[in-house]
């Protein structure tokens, strides 16, 4: 009988806290949103299931959770806590990204730069709420709207906030179709939303091959901290564009990126154990995250309007919203909002330029913050 009672005391039911129950519910909501609303299913399903798994309470002497030395989950989480998975995801992103639209209309890159204001204003907001410099830097990068970059920088600057930052970044990326349109309508007139842009020019294969090498040199020499992310991004793109490494490019953009996404999503989800995650700090991070997406979107749109003051061929300011690097969701949102005004206006190709520039911008921003704030 004693044996049975001691066994019952070790079950998850007996040890369940209200925090664990809340986090399991959050995990289930993620899975629900992914399946029924199609919100970033490739990320929300692994993260949601990870959150459910990570919040099953276990016996203290058993190494099961991501924070228990020697557990299987800890080995999987190693790739997150040491910033290994994000560069590998960047390699895959590089191998699937076509920079043609950016190369054909380089001025749109500046919209990707302007949207990074979200990172730096959020950093100020985090400092205002009492976070330390490195913590504020890690929180600020949520404004880059780039999950892997957010994980990479948090792992380096504020590992104790990694779970909350990663969940905030990915949740808001999934909510881009909800967060961005109100800002877009608020900051643009109907006349501006109807602007049609010139079709992009044909880009030669030579341009596409030279770009990743030169682009990497410029970015990494200015901000060496971005070397890992930008290097892998451009390496992946070189594999794609060189035409001689098609097999490697295929593996990078398909099998490899899928495997890493599964491991990253699941272990990030499993890291959201209630006692680490349900804190007042997490609430502040979620608030700042939402604000950062709104500021970043507004930054891109307002800068497009500013550029229009000097340009002969006007830019549709909606395209500026794609400067937040949530690829390709924010570009899709631009297309959707643009087509509501004029069903024959195709903005998707134009929006992809600031969108991929935003990926570059947030990686460079992360590099800058890492080099300045590390050890702070």
């Amino acid at each position: 009988m004693d044996l049975l009672i001691s066994f019952l005391e070790t079950t998850g039911f007996a040890q369940m806290t209200w925090g664990n129950a809340v986090m399991i519910l959050v995990g289930l909501v993620f899975i629900y949103l992914a399946i029924t609303k199609d919100y970033e299913p490739l990320l929300l399903v692994p993260i949601g299931m990870g959150a459910v798994v990570g919040n099953i309470p276990s016996v203290e002497s058993m190494a099961l959770g991501v924070y228990d030395d020697g557990s299987v989950l800890q080995y999987i989480y190693f790739g997150v806590s040491n910033g290994i998975y994000p560069p590998l995801i960047f390699l895959g992103i590089g191998a699937m990204t076509d920079f043609s639209t950016m190369l054909s209309n380089p001025k749109l890159i500046l919209l990707g730069a302007a949207a990074q204001i979200g990172i730096f204003l959020t950093l100020l907001g985090a400092l205002f709420l009492g976070f330390t410099g490195p913590e504020a830097g890690a929180i600020g990068i949520i404004g880059g709207a780039d999950g892997p970059t957010a994980i990479f920088l948090s792992a380096k600057l504020a590992p104790h906030l990694l779970g909350a930052i990663a969940i905030a970044a990915y949740s808001y990326m999934a909510l881009v179709p909800v967060l961005q349109p109100p800002v877009m309508y608020l900051l643009t007139s109907k006349k501006e939303r109807l602007i049609r842009m010139k079709p992009p020019r044909q880009v030669s294969q030579r341009e596409k091959i030279i770009f990743p090498i030169a682009g990497f040199l410029i970015a990494a020499l200015i901000a060496p901290g971005s070397l890992t992310l930008v290097g892998m991004l451009f390496f992946g793109n070189l594999l794609k564009e060189s035409c001689v490494t098609e097999r490697l490019a295929n593996s990078a953009r398909n099998a490899m990126v899928d495997i890493v996404t599964i491991l990253l999503g699941f272990s990030v989800g499993a890291s959201t154990q209630a006692d680490n995650f349900l804190t007042p700090q997490s609430l502040k991070i979620f608030g700042l995250g939402a604000l950062s997406f709104i500021v970043a979107t507004a930054g891109g749109i307002l800068f497009a309007k500013f550029m229009n003051l000097f340009l002969k061929d006007k830019i549709n300011p909606l395209v500026g919203a794609a400067g937040v690097s949530a690829v390709p969701d924010s570009a899709r949102v631009v297309q959707m909002v643009g087509q509501k005004e004029d069903p024959e206006n195709f903005l998707l190709m134009h929006a992809m330029a600031p969108n991929v520039a935003g990926v570059l911008g947030s990686a460079i921003g992360a590099g800058v913050l890492w080099s300045v704030l590390v050890g702070g």
């Binding site: 950016m102 380089p106 730069a113 990074q116 730096f120 950093l123 100020l124 024959e344």
Partner: protein, 88 residues
């Protein structure tokens, strides 16, 4: 510590301005480089003419698949346009 005092203590404003400037300068340089690239390539073409290699994508299976996708996209756009005209 929090509020403006913390921002000042951590040199937040300087950090934000410097960070934003570096991101802008890096992307501005990439913009200039891309804008100059066609001209640079014209000069390069004289010294090092582009050669057709066996690895060019144009004749591969992928290009056939891409052609099919482009054709499908054009057909969809035409259909949509036709529908729109009919509804007006």
């Amino acid at each position: 510590m929090n509020g403006i005092e913390n921002i000042m203590e951590q040199e937040g404003i300087g950090l934000a301005i410097t960070g934003m400037s570096i991101v802008f300068i890096a992307l501005l340089l990439i913009t200039f480089y891309i804008a100059l690239l066609p001209t640079l390539l014209k000069h390069l073409e004289k010294i090092l003419p582009e050669q057709k290699s066996g690895h060019q994508r144009a004749e591969g299976k992928e290009s056939e698949e891409e052609d099919l996708m482009v054709a499908a996209a054009i057909a969809t756009a035409f259909r949509r346009r036709k529908k729109l005209k009919e509804s007006r």
